[in-house]
């Protein structure tokens, strides 16, 4: 231990110097000559980076920036949302010389990333999620965030055309606003095709519980659901179980079409490669990284998997028309009047929310037609 410490400190000094030279401190060094300077970027994942899910989506983004000139990529997988992630960040900063870190999991933010940001003010931290608040959190931290609800709405359209039983199913992890919004968007998409469709939701209570996810998928199909989607960290088990039972799949996080073949309708995927590329370009050119970066399909933060062979011509037409409308920026999923599944009006007639509306970020209700409860 005593032997290691001085080395850490020396490397830390080097790293800070490299950080200054690379111009990652906005406003200090804005020279164009540094556009291609070396930059070490660290990515931290909560699970395996090839999980067909959340972590794979981020790792695919990291793979995109790895090809950019001057970039050294350091990655660590399976880092728990505990003090472990602080150790990982310190080691990336001190030993690898990383000056830009992307801790990708929600629970890394508070207190872990904030503690490291205070300790290493010259290192830039960008966290996936919408947690950064101006004035409350340090300037060398920030959030980036995608609105994938419209992707789930498009999933819903594909599901609406594919469902014969008029019952679709959703395997969800925890009833947090993001998940709830995805469930509602999925059903509203399906109801835009046929207003009689209902969506059964099962909460597993955890982000990654293979056996429970398989049980939930089986239970949904036993109750007649014939199109399944999910919001869990790794959709692999849900996709394989549902396809094995003959149900159609709408993917989530990453492209799972290889797992379900022709049962795969489409999927809402993250396009983090674009987001990370923008961050790196800003860092290398000495520009501002931005503290709160967010966007949806039209901003290139989210993309859709190519439509599968089971999507009908009619379904394809409506899917593409809606996608075009979303891309024009004029579309909103939550248009009043909308009732929740207890009969209360949650969005009044004439009111509609854009995808970045603050009202949607605290969504705690399931809309009419969703069978399930958030508690």
């Amino acid at each position: 231990m005593t032997k290691l410490l001085p080395m850490n400190r020396r490397n830390f000094l080097q790293a800070s110097a490299a950080g200054l030279a690379a111009g990652t401190v906005p406003g200090l060094f804005g020279s164009q000559a540094m556009a291609q300077t070396a930059l070490t970027v660290g990515f931290i994942y909560v699970g395996p980076k090839d999980d067909y899910g959340y972590n794979q989506a981020h790792a695919e983004g990291a793979a995109v920036i790895k090809k950019m000139p001057g970039i050294t990529l350091v990655e660590e997988e399976n880092v728990p949302e505990t003090v472990d992630v602080q150790k990982t960040m310190e080691s990336m900063i001190n030993l690898d010389g990383a000056t830009l870190l992307f801790p990708t999991s929600f629970g890394y933010f508070d207190p872990h990333m904030l503690a490291m940001a205070a300790k290493y003010p010259k290192v830039q931290f960008r966290h996936c999620g919408g947690l950064w608040t101006e004035g409350k959190h340090p300037a060398n931290t920030g959030s980036y965030f995608g609105y994938i609800g419209q992707g789930q709405y498009l999933n819903g359209i594909a599901a609406g055309y594919a469902s014969k039983s008029k019952k679709i199913g959703f395997v969800a992890a925890k009833p947090i606003p993001q998940v709830v919004q995805n469930i509602n968007s999925f059903l509203l998409g399906a109801r835009s095709v046929d207003p009689n469709i209902t969506c059964q939701v099962i909460f597993t209570g955890e982000w990654s519980l293979a056996v429970k996810e398989a049980e939930a998928t089986n239970a949904l199909i036993d109750q007649g659901a014939d199109v399944i989607t999910c919001h869990v960290d790794s959709p692999k088990v849900v996709v394989e179980t549902a396809a094995g039972r003959g149900a159609f799949i709408c993917g989530y996080h990453a492209n799972q079409s290889a797992l379900a073949k022709d049962k795969y309708l489409t999927g809402a995927e993250w396009a983090w490669g674009n987001v990370y590329t923008n961050f790196i370009k800003a860092a290398q050119s000495g520009g501002k990284l931005g503290n709160f970066v967010h966007g949806g399909l039209k901003d290139g933060f989210v993309k859709m998997s190519p439509l599968g062979p089971a999507v009908s011509a009619e379904g394809r037409k409506k899917f593409e028309a809606t996608l075009a409308e979303i891309m024009s920026g004029k579309f909103s999923v939550f248009k009043g009047p909308i009732k929740d599944n207890k009969g209360n009006v949650v969005v009044t007639a004439g009111k509609s929310f854009a995808e970045d509306a603050i009202e949607l970020e605290s969504m705690g209700y399931l809309v009419e037609g969703v069978v399930g409860s958030t508690s």
Partner: protein
């Protein structure tokens, strides 16, 4: 409810199907642990063996295209893990529980390390026997698609129950488990018996892992077990070291685990966190109900470090 769904019948069906689908790993791990504990040793490392078995089976199935070879390879690695545990524990003043915990972490770490490149590929699955052909309902047909390992587990439970009482090997195992000194006096080497018993236990636990990765849920990732191996070790105590008890307890756990998703699917959606606790609540109730103020741990092998 709906024409295509089966409504409230879904709940008993899901519990029944869940009992069969989810219980198999519990059956194998708890039977393996019963053999080990009957010889007077506790192997807490079976969670690691289970996960390593799951990884080995998946990897071998991917590489050879044969899930059966995967199961056999898993058994072999399980036996190696058991042998290491048994060999270390034969030295004086070595605590089998501590070694078990170390072996668990070792197995998990090694499985994650070696299994890295097998998360993406899709392995061929173990075949199931369709016993639901008589029913016109697809839900019943799906529930009665039963994996052959389940039947092997059931037969093994019966066999072990018979063998512990009626065979020479069963008798030797029980003597060693009840009194090390008596076994020595009879000219039996307790260390050797325990080594073999731990190896056999590890081998069975690895079959449970192979079932997880090659049949249900049928994929390899690092969260595949989520503590099922540890739970199965506890099941052995719950089942009072009786193989048939292990089988029934495993069924109970499987069925209770299916309760939460099944109730949500028929619209009982309030308080699902409570339903998810059902297996544990059930365990507590049964343990309290069957406890006795005068005897502790009836049926426990005398030489087990739990009872010493």
């Amino acid at each position: 409810m709906e024409d295509t769904g089966i409504g409230l019948w879904g709940v008993p069906l899901a519990i029944f199907a869940g009992a069969i689908r989810v219980s198999t790993p519990f059956i194998f791990v708890s039977l393996g642990e019963t053999i080990t504990e009957r010889s007077g040793r506790i192997n807490l490392g079976l969670e690691g063996t289970l996960v390593f078995g799951a990884m080995t089976a998946y990897a071998v199935a991917v590489m050879t295209g044969s899930p059966t070879l995967g199961v056999l390879a898993a058994m072999a690695t399980g036996a190696i893990f058991g042998t290491i545990h048994g060999w270390i524990c034969k030295w004086p003043k070595v605590n089998d529980i501590a070694i078990g915990i170390a072996m668990m972490q070792f197995g998990l770490g090694l499985a994650f390390f070696l299994g890295k490149s097998f998360i993406q590929p899709v392995a061929p699955k173990l075949p199931s026997i369709p016993l639901g052909g008589w029913s016109a309902t697809p839900q019943v047909q799906a529930a009665l698609n039963i994996n052959v390992l389940f039947f092997i587990g059931a037969a093994l439970a019966l066999f072990l129950w018979w063998a512990f009482r009626n065979t020479r090997i069963g008798l030797i195992l029980r003597v060693v488990g009840d009194s090390t000194d008596a076994a020595r006096a009879m000219g039996i080497s307790p260390d050797r018996v325990r080594l073999l018993a731990t190896a056999a236990g590890g081998s069975l636990a690895a079959i449970g892992g192979a079932y997880l990765s090659l049949y249900y849920p049928g994929s390899w990732n690092e969260g595949i077990s989520s503590g099922q191996g540890l739970m199965a070790v506890a099941l052995v105590i719950f089942a009072r070291w009786n193989p048939i008890g292990c089988f029934l307890a495993a069924l109970l756990f499987g069925g209770a685990g299916a309760l939460g998703p099944a109730l949500q699917s028929v619209g009982v959606t309030q308080g699902y966190y409570l339903f998810y606790a059902a297996p544990y609540v059930l365990t507590l109730i049964i343990l309290i109900a069957t406890s006795s103020p005068t005897r502790s741990l009836a049926g426990a092998p005398g030489a087990l470090s739990l009872t010493k």
